[in-house]
Symmetry: C2
Subunit: 334 residues, 2 copies
DNA sequence: TTGTATGCGTTATCAT
DNA sequence: ATGATAACGCATACAA
């Protein structure tokens, strides 16, 4: 890699002159500036980022710690983060906690050595279940700003970007009750240990209570694939009164549709199905599932912008941004 | 952040002594080593990574450039990359090209300033279609090793990790012909402009020719969601003789199953469906789609290991690793 | 207008 | 066993 020193030697001028010329300092003559720039272009000079980082004590890099990236929600959030980061001349270092506490902790500690200017993270399942979050507090005390999205820790004071989990599910449930006249709405969940899962279940429960209906919940507690199918199938088979299904994750809704069809139910006439979903979810189901569409991309973008603002303005007050979800109905439902 | 200098000042010894003590140099007395380490632990000292990078001229960081991460294949590859990188004490900086040439080029150039020790990439759709790859060659000439996976550029000499696209589709097609006695096999594709799409189509075509059957291909050229459904539906409706569908991407196979069911076809009795798929693909279809399972996670892992080997051994010869796929049949198919 | 000197935090070489 | 010094590549305050 070409360095300032090399350029200086070739041009028989000092390193600082070269540096200033390249940075368009007004104290450099037109003539030398041009000479320097020409040679720089010719030799494809690029300022060494590491040296700049050491000098300025800014990395222009964000640490992104995700529980997983095979879940389409997090993949889409990552997409949003990457776009916003790029637009603001930031890089992202991505770590995956695989939902484990120790990996999350390790990533946070490893990058807290000057590698990044701040973190965007969604808390790992294990950390949330064990309510073990001291590593996150340590990071913040270490003067590294942390922004949490989606899965957040309530008693940590920091920037947050969350989804209106309670509200969106409450409203979707009300929609089923009021507009579609459903009375036996089953909630299916395989994320009931997560903060978001709890909130969604609460939204559903509250809506049913408000309309004097009885909650009915099938908890799959993170079961594996085939089990999911079987358990939903059996449940539907034995509970024929069910006229609507509300899935609080992004996969059991589609499975429910497939199982209901297998049992000969007519969708959406006899049975309404609502799930959480993302960009391509609806393409994969037939008939189309209605989805609560989380603006995952937007969550990523807003998280990034907010974190960068915080990095650049130390005494900016923490805030919590709620990104509203959108209920996208199956077209054939009126 | 605590620095060596601060530790030295507090202990009234020199910076170099502190450095040596922390690095377990044998020329430091037991006594001071312990004192130094105790204080370091107490103050939570961590060597500044940026300074180390500047000193050693190694970043221990890999640049990962992906076309997208919402495609589950790339998400799973990323997962594999991240795991292998972590196991080897490497970080990854992730950039998404969004399938565009200019973003891919920009990412490559931006990170070629000392930010990373090498690259792992899958070529963007646009770059591949326009066959514009000089930016990649430039990077390699710049002494930064590049490893390409999945979508590769043939006339660039570098490490490659690829899937046996031709072979896996050839064999899947033969399976349909020989074991399932299918004669009218439709190939559905929405990735025919990609190198992998071309290879898969060739594998299919060759298999049909070898068995004296007529190829029948539905090219969707990257159509949008609703269009995909409609076109597959119409095609199946008008071509009742079709007794097998081979999808060369990870989504049209599931759509085909749904459309075929809508048309009253019996799967797998009257119609076999094979697609490409990943971890959760089969859960989303009913009846289960048969899939050509690409070992995406393994591709990511092997790519990372190979790149790190190359980084650490300059004159290691380039190699091309083929990661075989596995045909996972629908259980009900014998 | 150009050049010299210093420092970012670390490690390595060479004194003491 | 410990310390002084230089160097990585860059930016900048200060001389000239």
């Amino acid at each position: 890699m070409t360095t300032l020193k090399e350029l200086a030697a070739l041009l028989n001028i000092s390193v600082s002159t070269v540096s200033k010329a390249l940075n368009d300092s007004h104290e450099i003559s037109e003539n030398t500036r041009i000479r320097v720039k020409e040679l720089a272009t010719k030799l494809n000079y690029k300022p060494n980022r590491i040296a700049q980082q050491l000098k300025t004590n800014k990395t222009k890099t964000i640490g992104v710690i995700l529980p997983t990236v095979t879940n389409p929600f997090f993949a889409e959030v990552l997409h949003g983060i990457e776009m916003a980061a790029t637009n603001n001349d930031y890089d992202i270092i991505v770590c995956l906690s695989n939902e484990t506490l120790h990996k999350e902790k390790r990533s946070l500690e490893l990058l807290s050595n000057g590698s990044v200017d701040g973190f965007i993270m969604a808390v790992a399942r294990e950390s949330q279940v064990k309510n073990e979050t001291s590593h996150i507090k340590d990071t913040i005390n270490n003067k590294l700003p942390v922004l949490m999205f989606d899965r957040v820790v309530n008693d940590i004071d920091c920037n947050k970007v969350i989804v209106d989990d309670f509200k969106s599910v409450y409203e979707a449930t009300e929609h089923l009750i009021i507009n579609q006249h459903r009375k036996n709405i089953l909630l299916v969940s395989n994320i009931e240990e997560l903060s978001v899962g709890k909130l969604r279940i609460e939204g559903y429960t509250k809506a049913l209570e408000d309309h004097n209906l009885k909650p009915e919940i099938l908890k799959l507690d993170n079961a594996v694939d085939l089990d999911v199918e079987k358990r939903i199938y059996n449940y539907l088979k034995e509970n024929v009164a069910i006229d609507a299904i509300l899935s609080v994750d992004h996969v059991t809704g589609i499975v429910a549709i497939n199982m209901a069809k297998k049992l000969g139910r007519n969708i959406p006439e006899d049975l309404s199905v609502v799930g959480f979903g993302y960009e391509h979810t609806q393409l994969l189901s037939s008939p189309k599932i209605s989805i609560i569409h989380q603006k995952a991309h937007k969550i990523g973008e807003m998280s990034t912008k907010l974190l960068i603002d915080t990095i650049n303005d130390e005494d900016l007050k923490w805030q919590t941004i709620v990104v509203p979800s959108e209920l996208k109905l199956n077209e054939s439902v009126k």
